[in-house]
Symmetry: C2
Subunit: 199 residues, 2 copies
């Protein structure tokens, strides 16, 4: 109890602490006791903010999902040729992942043991499905190669984007800036590593 | 003790059981008791085969690393233009990942709490470094684009390849075959999703 400080948390700042602990220990491995220690306030103070850890998980993955689904309503994702829209969604997904790094990291690690986790996985699949449809439309337009199965191409595309959570650390000295990373993802995904000369 | 069966394990078959448990529970979360239950033999029978769980981890990640480093000595990785060698290594890395799926999965999840884990991470970095050098040579030859930083390109390339462990399940009905996946990785990595018409 000596460690307890005055509870000056807002919903957002408490969420940020919880997400850090979830990412470090895993959601299953995190108890209210761990959250209380990391926040430096008592468990009953935390219960003053939320009903329990699942509510914190719900808010955290909800924030990541809102960021991702928001992209699909932006003009760049709605208007124009499918290939341009897919390019836009690829860039923005990469940007949102970096901007909301701890929240998207948590979303990608969710495994499906609770209602909230299963809901989050279902929403992730929905997002992937929306992107797969865009990819399919661009193949039908003749703008994207037809010799890679759509589901496989979508998986490899998200595999590349999502892997950024493993190494991107915005606060590290000499860290790449977001635009540089997003440019690289779009270039590799759409045009590949090769130059014309290397073909 | 009623569950114990006669110990007919070979080093390889016992390793396969251990790797499955490590991947399910995490290495840190696995005790000798868990291994004993999963194998259906007593702990002392396991100690007859190995000194402890770290030796099993060492053999498992060693098998994955032998598979990966073996690629770099194959003629396709040694002879010819850098871009062709990189293409070869990309294809073979994807194939080895699928052929040695549980072992490579474990290698990719290792986090560095023990000597063996730190050694495995160091060897992984060495492998990535060897591939990065190949990429750099191909850029110098003018065969690969110079507008994506080598370290970033290497990370995104491995991000795409390594993400396969998240979804590839060889025994699933209708599973993609290895060649189809390896072809897709090479096409996307080197030439991207776009057709000439879509440019």
């Amino acid at each position: 109890m000596t460690m307890s400080k005055r509870d000056t948390y807002t919903p957002d700042s408490l969420l940020a602490v919880a997400v850090r602990v979830f990412n470090e220990r895993g959601y299953d491995g995190t108890s209210m006791e761990h959250l209380s220690r990391a926040a430096g306030i008592s468990k009953s103070s935390i219960y003053h903010h939320v009903r329990g850890k699942e509510e914190l998980l719900n808010r955290a993955v909800g924030r990541a999902l809102d960021g991702l689904f928001g992209i699909l309503d932006e003009p760049g994702a709605v208007d124009g040729r499918a290939v341009r829209r897919l390019e836009y969604v690829t860039r923005r997904t990469t940007e949102v992942l970096m901007a909301e790094l701890p929240y998207v990291t948590l979303l990608l690690r969710v495994r499906g043991n609770t209602t909230t986790e299963r809901w989050a996985m279902e929403r992730r699949r929905e997002f992937d499905q929306r992107v797969a449809e865009l990819l399919k439309a661009a193949v039908a337009d003749g703008d994207l190669r037809a010799d890679v199965e759509v589901r496989l191409a979508t998986r490899l595309l998200f595999g590349m984007i999502n892997s950024i959570v493993e190494w991107y650390r915005p606060d590290t000295k000499g860290a790449l800036d977001r635009e540089q990373v997003a440019d690289a993802v779009v270039r590799l995904a759409f045009d590949g590593l090769r130059t014309q000369a290397g073909a």
